[in-house]
């Protein structure tokens, strides 16, 4: 059976200017840092980044902001990253703020063949501006549309050669969601096991969603 392992050099070549990149991680935690290294090495610019937040200044995903490769950011919170705040204020990054739960659902929809989701979150606030309000069973909801990307960056705890993934604790966060919602899904796993070693009931992301797994020798086990 063909495995999905790929070298860092080959991953670097997948990134192009103008792509939309989706990235797992939440407040610097459970971030696919090795794949962010690859993205930075590629030199790709003018990216649209979809992520819960933009990390801290020059840390984890925040390195993409510091290097100036992001033109547009779709996120729920930027308050941790002073670079992002400054670049948004200067108009150098276009920011779309989405409530956290709605962002998670928009990505989930994108990965599940759905056009969007109806939620009460954001009704009567700035978030509702320009969005459709739909009445179902006499209740008003906001239509939040699906999000997809060209490439997803996923941090997993364990991967097997087919890209079946498990996660650990709160390092899970947006990772299983972004894993499903992109044309190409890349995985940075802390540990690698053989086929059959993961109890099949504990697999969170089926390998069917995964295109490439960063080869084991490229992965670093000692990370925050």
């Amino acid at each position: 059976m063909a495995d999905k392992y790929i070298s860092k050099e080959k991953i670097v070549r997948l990134f192009k200017d103008g792509q939309t990149i989706m990235c797992g991680g939440f407040a610097n935690h459970g971030v696919p840092n090795k794949l962010i290294d690859c993205l930075l090495e590629s030199g790709a610019r003018h990216l649209t980044l979809i992520s819960n937040d933009s990390g801290d200044a020059d840390l984890t995903i925040g390195r993409l902001i510091r290097q100036g490769v992001v033109d547009k950011l779709i996120a729920s919170h930027i308050g941790r990253n002073t670079d992002t705040i400054q670049l948004v204020e200067e108009g150098k990054i276009e920011l779309e703020l989405v409530p956290q739960g709605s962002l998670a659902e928009r990505i989930r929809c994108g990965g599940s063949g759905l056009g969007g989701v109806l939620t009460k979150t954001g009704l009567g606030t700035m978030v509702a501006q320009g969005k459709q309000v739909i009445t179902v069973n006499n209740e008003e909801y906001l239509l939040e549309t699906a999000l997809r990307a060209d490439i997803a960056l996923v941090r997993a705890r364990t991967s097997d050669p087919l890209g079946n993934l498990t996660y650990h604790g709160t390092m899970q966060n947006f990772n299983p969601l972004v894993a499903k919602a992109s044309a190409i899904t890349l995985v940075d796993a802390d540990m690698h096991v053989d086929i059959g070693e993961l109890p099949l009931d504990s697999i969170v992301t089926p390998g069917a969603y995964v295109d490439y797994v960063l080869a084991a020798e490229e992965s670093d086990h000692e990370r925050a």
Partner: protein
């Protein structure tokens, strides 16, 4: 007990054993210290069963709350992705959320994520006020320069409309009701008039006014 701790203790009195509760940053994050045993704490990134904040030799890899502080999960904790996390928030299974506020209006409108020149993002706050069965605001009654935070109408961008149930401050507890704001508890030594002069809307005084110990 300082003012912040007094607010947290008073807000934690709303939790019952078995409740799943989400705590915001700042004063709300202190509520865990005063909660009844058996209350389970939720974190937005995706876990129910947040335990003590820890670092150094107690730090457990892989457990970090929504503000990136490491914690020890309690026995019986469960971890899941962020879509599941907010599904739980909106499902009605989240008993309460305790949040800070910049402004609260007479009708329960809340503004707590942006003020002029400071737009950092709402994070999970809009989902929490939409989904939690009880929305408790834990805050100091006025701004640092003595301006009222309880207003007839919010001027800052809203987090949610008509969403606040209780406002817990260092001086009093105010319930948001259909009739208006009702003063239900008052710090020992203060009078309702002391509170009224610090807030903009007219305050209704409850028939049975509780006393908050200093």
């Amino acid at each position: 007990m300082n003012a912040r701790e007094r607010i947290a203790k008073q807000a934690a009195a709303y939790f019952a054993p078995g409740d799943v509760v989400n705590l915001g940053i700042g004063i709300p994050s202190l509520c865990g210290d005063y909660a009844a045993p058996g209350v389970m704490f939720h974190t937005e990134n995706g876990l129910v069963g947040v335990g003590a904040i820890c670092d150094g030799m107690l730090a457990v890899e892989g457990f970090s709350n929504a503000t990136a502080m490491r914690f020890i999960p309690v026995p019986g904790a469960s971890a899941f992705d962020s879509a599941e996390s907010f599904g739980l928030v909106r499902s009605g299974k989240l008993a309460a959320t305790v949040l800070g506020a910049l402004q609260v209006a007479e009708n329960g409108d809340l503004a707590n994520w942006a003020s002029p020149g400071r737009v950092f993002g709402m994070g999970g706050a809009m989902d929490l006020v939409n989904g939690a069965r009880k929305v408790i605001i834990a805050m100091e009654l006025t701004t640092r320069d003595g301006k009222s935070k309880i207003l007839k109408q919010c001027s800052f961008p809203l987090t949610g409309k008509n969403c606040v149930d209780h406002i817990v401050t260092e001086q009093c507890v105010i319930d948001v009701t259909r009739d208006g704001l009702v003063l239900v508890a008052l710090l020992e030594g203060l009078t309702p008039a002391d509170i009224q002069k610090q807030i903009e809307p007219r305050l209704i005084v409850a028939d049975h006014l509780a006393t908050m110990p200093v």
